[in-house]
Subunit: 442 residues, 2 copies
């Protein structure tokens, strides 16, 4: 892609309404545009990053055998009345009356609808377990939306639901999701810590929030520092292995505000390991047994003809929120560096271009074409801006690798820089291999 | 995927509410489930097919240089008041009042919002032309939703928008989309005919509908038969080449009902070539100049400092509707055959399984693993149903290739059948190559 063709409206100044760095960066680098309070359009740069995150979330769900489907955004109020949540949910639910006077709503979550799909499709215990998920837009009519995509009204979320015969089986499904979440966040370049959490309006008695440490976070957390060092790469999707991993995590104190108990914290965590900080919630998983299956009469037939309510859990990842969360984690000293797994481009070519000298332009184009042929997604800054403005711009756009065609580049060796690292002078083949190696290690 | 694990609630009988064959097939083969009147959930089988269609639509948009972004589903009423369509649009627009009493709506289309994005981002004529698109859920509060996903309330649509400096340039953008649409439908295995059409509520003076011939269609069409034989493979994305293609199409009479003129039809089309039939609209493109840019004050600066309103067009493809349209075109004599480009699986293994004899199961599993290793997406019917029930089921599911492990298969040669064709006895290598060849030719 040539930068001059890219639809990327970059702002020179921080917009006054943006209070945190992810919101500032997303507006300034033309990733999003507010369309009305708390509702955003995703412009090409932001859209591309969000889609890459979505795809990683999807692949990790598929890996544990979850099946993807898609529920609509608009739901009938009826099933919410069946579950009893229609009145409970409060004003955050966007309620709609259609032209025929029917009560509808924009789904803020999908426990009711998935239960309805399940109960009318699955009749026998033999079809269990089932893990189903979808990635769909949700709406919460926030009174005070803020922090850009971190707390907005219309947001993109992966929500999964598990259906099991017994509590014991259900815990296995819960653990599978627990493991999938850790792998997902790792692929996104994030260290997310699972913390015992309250279940809130979803209900149930077992729940974990996945939290990224960040001073700008809204969740207060209390934890044993050593939990950060748990290495998930040694574990597999086998039930026993995941069980061990769960135990490992459970051996460290790590809770959100709601669950905090000072005495326990001080008893269980050595002074020097006590971590009291803030974090951003990027995932939340729940086990709630028959909370929805009972009122919604979602049961299966057992071998002996008896019926039993299925045991359910639900599992959410905020896909659009993750875009902001990654920025909060990776945007430091006014320089952004996207993890290679979700970077909007693999590499950018930044030439110094003079009006009367086409040589750098020609050189850049040659490199561009060569990388393209090798299936590398490259951006070419073909604009007439001077180098220092270009660098400032790419500090915001955050493409992890840069090829700089200026004084340090010769005819066949070019200045190559990974953000945060010293620049090197490399041939085009060396550059190509570096990028491909880095990409393949994701 | 093992069929016993797949979430695919198959119905034995045609549901009484389904009047046309696509609606019947989609319900019976567990592709969709109605969640409320005119609103559907997409179950794994249907979802997978829709996603493949979406991806083909996307790739053909990218090929002509269109850039993808994503606008939200919920819009503010304000910009619709600016354009004057808020009052015009009628009851099909789902109008919403949020908790703060603000007038919102679920977007039925996005001319206003994209114009708003454009006008606040692009200031200079130098940034033109621009082609922007998104693939997003839309809502039309149909009074009488019917025919399943063909005329429902919540639907998935690709809508693109072009921005140009002059009428002449804008026609080039229009032609590019015209060409992309023909290529898209061809890759989907469809013969779509571009027909001059009325512009309706979108406005403008140039418009084509892309129509698939089908007796169940809602659009009446009048055409010269010979238009079906136009071969698009000879043309390229170059302006001149597309222009020639446009001329070629324009040389044949082909219009929808609104544009029909009996005298012209009889004068221009030989008796034996007169085609009067019905069709399904799968795409619609519009050129409307400054219809939206003028009221919304969407202008760019010219070199001499003057401002000029940009010239716009819009271009829609009904992605969810296409799932139904393909079925209407390909489901004949109670047998469905998905085009390989969008088939839910590349191939299905259908073994005859006996309780006391594991040999066919083992044989099937071996084939399954071998195909999987070769990146072939294969479904294995591991259920205990008898062969004739299995065949009936796969007549509905419509996977284009079948490997039948029954009396005609030996230890290393297997019955291989492409739907509609005679079966052959082939080795696993021959089968693999056949499938890969077919897939690569898409």
């Amino acid at each position: 892609m040539y930068l001059s063709k890219l639809f990327i409206p970059i702002l020179k100044e921080n917009p006054s309404e943006a209070k945190i760095k992810s919101h500032q960066l997303m507006l300034r680098s033309g990733m999003i545009k507010q369309s009305s309070t708390g509702i955003y359009s995703w412009l090409p740069l932001g859209f591309k990053i969000m889609k890459k995150i979505e795809q990683i979330v999807r692949l990790e769900q598929n890996k544990i055998g979850a099946q993807e489907l898609l529920m609509p955004t608009i739901q009938s109020a009826e099933i919410w009345k069946e579950s009893g949540r229609y009145d409970d949910y409060g004003e955050e639910m966007l309620r709609i009356t259609d032209r025929q006077g029917k009560e509808m709503l924009y789904g803020p979550t999908n426990e009711e609808l998935i239960t309805e799909i399940f109960r009318s499709s699955i009749k026998s215990y033999k079809s269990l377990p089932q893990l189903l998920y979808h990635i769909q837009w949700k709406f919460r009519d926030e009174l005070r939306p803020r922090f850009g995509v971190m707390r907005c009204k219309e947001f993109f979320m992966k929500d999964a639901y598990s259906f099991d015969l017994t509590d014991e089986e259900a815990k296995k499904s819960y653990n599978k999701m627990f493991f999938a979440y850790l792998n997902t966040f790792k692929r996104l370049g994030l260290t997310a810590i699972p913390m015992a959490a309250d279940t809130g309006p979803i209900g149930g008695d077992l729940s974990h929030e996945f939290i990224i440490l960040a001073e700008t976070g809204e969740s207060k957390i209390y934890s044993d520092k050593k939990i950060i060092d748990v290495d998930i790469s040694k574990y597999t999707t086998k039930d026993d292995s995941i069980n061990e991993l769960r135990k490992k995590y459970d051996s460290y104190y790590a809770v959100t505000d709601d669950k905090f108990n000072k005495e326990n914290f001080e008893k269980n965590v050595k002074k020097e390991n006590q971590l009291i900080t803030k974090g951003i919630e990027v995932g939340h998983i729940f086990y709630f047994g028959d909370k929805y299956s009972k009122p919604l009469k979602c049961s299966v037939d057992l071998q002996d003809g008896k019926k039993v309510d299925v045991k359910m859990g639900s599992y959410g990842i905020g896909v659009s929120r993750l875009v902001g969360a990654i920025i909060e984690a990776k945007f430091n000293n006014n320089i952004m560096k996207w993890p290679t797994s979700v970077a909007p481009f693999d590499v950018v070519i930044i030439p110094s271009l003079q009006k009367n000298d086409r040589s750098n332009y020609t050189k850049s184009e040659k490199i561009y074409n060569h990388l393209k042929e090798n299936d590398i997604d490259v951006l070419f800054d073909d604009t007439g801006e001077n180098l220092s403005s270009k660098f400032k711009k790419f500090d915001l756009i955050g493409i992890p690798f840069q090829i700089i065609i200026g004084s340090k580049s010769t005819d066949d060796k070019f200045e190559f820089k990974e953000i945060d690292k010293k620049s090197e002078t490399l041939s085009i083949e060396e550059i190509k291999n570096k990028i491909l190696n880095k990409r393949n290690s994701n």
